[in-house]
């Protein structure tokens, strides 16, 4: 039986369906293996437990120095606690600068997980729990290049110099740091003091890393929670899922959804090709049966075929999927957690297995029919086995996939949601495709003869045509939305940076440095709109009520009342602002007993604040009140320092302030930054132009990743297209020869083939445009608060690309029709 099966397989290889089945299966397995492995590796690399990710069981963050009593109590309870500070600063050596995020460690780090330090960039590191010795610094590899230093060299760090002692290969970090653009350095906590880099009012986080036995740890954490003030934050345990992890999980869901949809599309191709395969084998089956083969034996023969296709397709898909995932992981290595873990067996196995399952789910029903052909078919060709309804086939296939996903995720809810979203998305796309198809056919009927002929061909199998439109349309939706989102983000940022707009911010400027800085900038011909004081404080009350009492739930969620704000005082209305209600204070009436406040009108609207109301602030543990006397409109994209809340002069006296300013500096004037740093080592420089560049490069990478997903969908679309071409192969051959017999020239046949492909391309392109615009506008309004924007230019481009792509791919599959000899029409079909 096996040798007969092998012979059959070889013979069928040349008839197209086996290739289409194999192609579709390969794509399904490739998508599952590649996406499964990538998400799995990233997921595991981020740490199965958030403790390793945090570097401790819990972290306690505070914008103010942490009371020693808190630490003492923890240590007495038998817990491990490492003090640390985290802040941004600029490292320099010679003329080279780099903005970095510094973590200064007062003890062993990390408490959970390990840190890996190497002697050279990108070399194998030593795994340890340690802290840099005083006077030394550990750097991320990319800083070495920027500063042009090697291990053993020294770097300027505020008032002191630090020796580069190692390169960070992998370190636990806070959630936000994975996609943080500023690279990370580790130093000893003692050096912070010596460098004199932190002044009163500097932006910095004090962090406690806390680890220990749960029995000792949990009561301490509970106590800590009761002691902490609103500006302090505890992360860890179950509730403390870091924001990035949530974001990555969302990305993971998106990726899974995309892989699922490409698998479903591949499944459609498999179902179509399998149906065609089985029909072509009805005659063989009938003859086998006539010659005395039993149903069981015919079943066996064709199940062997399915098995061989499955084995081959899974093998190829597996190899391609593994190659692709390692390509993508390498491409993204800069932005992914380190160390990156290796491939694990589970997603690979699931991918390969799911390929087989998809093959079984979508192809088995057709293959099982082959043996059921009545032997009488040798005499009466019209006899067919009873067909299984296509709904049954799809339900079976979806059920099988659900089972598979459940096995993988162990979460029935997740499977349900994912499947529901996939099915709804798919149906929605099909619905739009159906509408476009109907309208297109209606219009096409009015076209010239070849066009009507192409329409006729598409109308021949409406369900297949709609499948093709859906598949290609989806690919174009993904393409259009990534292109639009990317260019929207970039143009949004670039438009915010008009010629001469400030591209450098200086923060952490100390009061005594304001004058020297002003002089220095003046000497260097750098103009600023002013140097503003900045005091960090939280809004804690409104009109003698706490925020919980005064605000409803939605208002309490507004970011400005949940975190520390930068407060300032000013004598005059800042340049990019306009008073819209009430009146700005005059210089005469400053400093009565209660300070006057100016509040941004947007914030006021969201919190329901009105003129005359009193806000209470907590600044460094002290409280201060102010009365709202005017509301301002703020032009946030002015790239000037902007403030939600401005006090009248004198209103914040007695609180530690640092100063902030912004200015435009062309690239050739960058040496001015050296001078500033030399004179004022504690000032932090933020180079927006450099950050923009990095953001753009990240965005490019993300776009590329999404485009990989598009590739899967596009390939699945090609599989559907070829499967459908296979199904209609003989009819098309007949049509072509018949047309020739009736006197049509080659030109006519070419025109009718092209008309069909162009129509298919236009339909898919239109679906891509509609879907893309809808998706992009939903994302705009959700994520960027941008009103409806349409992109008419792409209404032309997407269909054009779609037409060219489908035209070329389809033409390759159909051009043989042109050379079909006319006398073939007299053959029996």
């Amino acid at each position: 039986m096996l040798s007969m099966a092998l012979r059959t397989f070889r013979r069928d290889w040349n008839a197209g369906e086996v290739k289409v089945l194999l192609f579709a299966l390969t794509i399904a397995v490739m998508a599952m293996v590649a996406i499964g492995s990538i998400t799995d590796r990233v997921h595991r690399a981020m740490g199965e437990q958030s403790s390793e990710f945090l570097g401790a069981d819990y972290t306690f963050e505070s914008p103010r120095p942490i009371d020693n009593a808190l630490v003492e109590r923890g240590l007495n309870d038998g817990l491990e606690i490492t003090r640390s500070q985290s802040f941004a600063t600029v490292l320099s050596r010679g003329d080279n600068f780099q903005l970095v995020s510094v973590r200064a460690l007062g003890g062993k780090f990390p408490l959970k997980g390990t840190i890996e330090i190497a002697e050279k960039p990108f070399a194998q590191g030593v795994v340890q729990q340690a802290q840099p010795k005083a006077g030394t610094i550990w750097l991320e590899p990319r800083i070495l290049g920027v500063l042009d230093v090697e291990v053993g060299d020294t770097i300027d760090f505020g008032a002191i110099q630090l020796t580069v002692d190692g390169v960070i290969v992998a370190a636990p970090g806070q959630a936000s740091e994975v996609f943080n653009v500023a690279p990370k350095v580790l130093i000893n906590l003692d050096d912070v003091q010596k460098a004199n880099i932190i002044q009163e009012g500097s932006r910095l986080e004090h962090i406690l890393f806390i680890a220990g036995d749960p029995a000792k740890r949990e009561p301490y954490i509970q106590w800590l929670k009761s002691e902490k003030n609103p500006s302090q934050k505890i992360t860890g345990g179950k509730e403390g899922t870091p924001a990035l992890k949530a974001a990555l999980e969302r990305a993971e869901t998106f990726l899974r959804l995309a892989s699922l949809i490409s698998v479903v599309l591949a499944g459609v191709a498999i179902a179509v090709a399998a149906g065609r395969y089985s029909q072509r084998h009805f005659d063989y089956s009938a003859i086998y049966r006539c010659l005395g083969m039993q149903i069981r034996q015919v079943h066996k023969l064709y199940l062997w075929q399915l098995f061989m296709i499955g084995l081959l397709g899974s093998g190829i898909g597996l190899a391609l999927g593994l190659g692709l995932q390692s390509l993508i992981i390498n491409q993204f290595s800069d932005f992914l957690p380190k160390p990156m873990v290796g491939i694990s067996l589970a997603p690979v196995l699931t991918g390969a297995l799911s390929g087989l399952v998809v093959l079984l789910g979508f192809a088995l029903p057709s293959f099982l029919q082959i043996a059921k052909v009545p032997p009488l078919r040798v005499l009466r060709k019209e006899l067919l086995p009873r067909a299984m309804s296509s709904w049954m086939i799809y339900l079976l296939a979806i059920g099988v996939m659900a089972l598979l996903m459940w096995w993988q995720s162990q979460s029935l809810l997740l499977v349900g949601i994912l499947l529901a979203v996939a099915v709804v998305t798919y149906l929605l796309i099909r619905l739009i495709a159906w509408f476009i198809f109907k309208i297109g056919v209606w219009l096409g009927k009015r076209g010239s003869l070849p066009v009507r002929f192409g329409v006729g061909q598409l109308k021949q199998y409406p369900a297949f045509t709609i499948s093709q439109i859906s598949a290609f349309g989806l690919a174009f939706i993904i393409m259009l939305s990534t292109v639009l989102l990317r260019s929207e983000l970039l143009s949004e940022w670039q438009s915010q940076l008009p010629e001469g707009a400030p591209n450098h911010f200086l923060i952490n400027v100390q009061e005594q440095e304001v004058e020297p800085l002003e002089n220095l900038l003046k000497e260097s011909n750098v103009s600023t709109e002013g140097i503003y004081p900045m005091v960090r404080g939280r809004v804690v009350g409104l009109n003698d009520m706490t925020l919980e009492e005064a605000l409803d739930e939605n208002q309490q969620r507004v970011g400005a009342v949940r975190r520390e704000l930068n407060l300032t005082w000013m004598a005059n209305v800042p340049k990019a602002n306009k008073v819209t209600q009430g009146e700005w204070w005059s210089e005469a009436d400053v400093a009565d007993d209660r300070a006057e406040l100016s509040v941004g009108e947007e914030l006021a609207e969201r919190l329901g604040l009105e003129i005359g109301e009193v806000l209470k602030f907590s600044i460094g543990g002290l409280e201060v009140e102010g009365e709202i006397t005017n509301l301002r409109s703020i032009q946030w994209d002015s790239f000037q320092p902007n403030f939600f809340i401005i006090f009248e002069p004198g209103g914040l006296d007695g609180f530690p302030a640092s100063y902030i300013t912004s200015f435009h500096l062309p690239v050739e004037d960058k040496p001015v930054l050296n001078q500033i740093l030399r004179q004022m080592p504690t000032v932090t420089i933020i180079e927006l132009d450099a950050i923009m560049e990095q953001v753009q490069s990240i965005l490019d990478q993300v776009t590329m990743a999404v485009e990989f997903i598009m590739l899967f969908v596009l390939l699945a679309g090609i599989a559907v297209l070829y499967a459908v071409l296979q199904v209609s192969r003989e009819e098309r051959l007949l049509s072509a020869t018949l047309l020739k017999a009736l006197g049509a020239r080659k030109k006519f046949i070419r025109a009718s083939i092209l008309a069909e492909l162009v129509l298919l391309g236009v339909f898919s392109g239109v679906l891509g445009v509609i879907g893309g615009e809808v998706l992009v506008n939903i994302l705009y309004s959700e994520a960027f608060d941008i009103d409806l924007v349409l992109h008419p230019w792409y209404w032309l481009w997407v269909p054009l690309i779609s037409v060219s792509f489908i035209g070329i791919v389809g033409w390759l599959g159909l051009r043989h029709l042109l050379n079909q000899p006319a006398h073939q029409v007299l053959r029996e079909y």
Partner: protein, 243 residues
């Protein structure tokens, strides 16, 4: 109308030259009805495809409506067919994506004549399918499909009509109906008819029967037929009596 001179077709099959047709010389005059008969493999279909310019001969000449088909390229032969030729096939060969009306309109449009829709509608009415205009082939019975095919064959008002086993896929009743239509329309429109068939009854309705055997013409009753057209009339009357 149609003239061949020493028409020969050989094909190369697995290294051997195989002669399918040799030295066939025929002349068919306008409005003649000719049946080409012979057993399976005698070369009937090959002869038909050469006469209609669907294929090129290996040797000899074939002239259709004064056009030397054996010297023309594929597209030129297609143009000749569009201008002068109609077809009826054993398997009907309607285009599945087009409705009955569109199928019949097709040759008129290929010939770039006007009033395609009106004329196609008229013809479909003549074959008794005026209420099936918008049906697709798969919604029609075999007999109905062949009637559409006949309407299509006459649609472009061809000078000559080639029919390949036009009743081969039909039961006796439908076959008779279709052959009646074929001959009636042929007579009405004064078309030349060349048909290939196994069916003796159908062949006998033609004025002339050409018998092929092993690629050669072994019998041709051209002279008798030309002398006396009575037998054909006789058969028609006999059939009318049967119905």
């Amino acid at each position: 109308m149609l003239r061949t001179h020493e028409l020969t077709k050989t094909v190369n099959s697995q290294g051997h030259d195989l002669t399918i047709l040799s030295d066939v010389s025929l002349t068919v005059n306008e409005q003649d009805t000719v049946a080409i008969v012979g057993v399976s493999g005698s070369g009937k279909s090959t002869l038909l495809s050469l006469l209609a310019g669907l294929d090129l001969p290996s040797g000899g000449e074939v002239h259709l409506a004064d056009e030397p088909l054996h010297q023309l390229g594929e597209d030129q032969r297609a143009a000749v067919r569009a201008q002068h030729v109609g077809f009826v096939f054993q398997s009907f060969h309607l285009l599945p994506g087009l409705s009955a009306l569109e199928n019949v309109m097709l040759p008129i449009e290929l010939k770039e004549q006007d009033r395609a829709k009106e004329r196609a509608t008229e013809l479909l009415a003549k074959v008794g399918l005026e209420d099936r205009l918008q049906h697709y082939p798969n919604q029609l019975s075999g007999g109905e499909q062949q009637r559409v095919a006949i309407a299509r064959a006459f649609a472009s008002e061809p000078k000559i009509l080639f029919a390949d086993e036009p009743t081969g896929n039909l039961d006796t009743k439908n076959g008779d109906k279709v052959s009646d239509l074929l001959f009636d329309l042929n007579k009405q429109l004064g078309t030349t008819l060349v048909l290939v068939t196994h069916d003796d009854r159908l062949a006998e309705r033609c004025q002339r029967i050409v018998r092929l055997e092993g690629g050669k013409v072994v019998a041709d009753n051209a002279s008798e037929a030309l002398q006396d057209q009575a037998p054909q009339e006789q058969v028609s009357q006999d059939q009318a009596a049967e119905q």
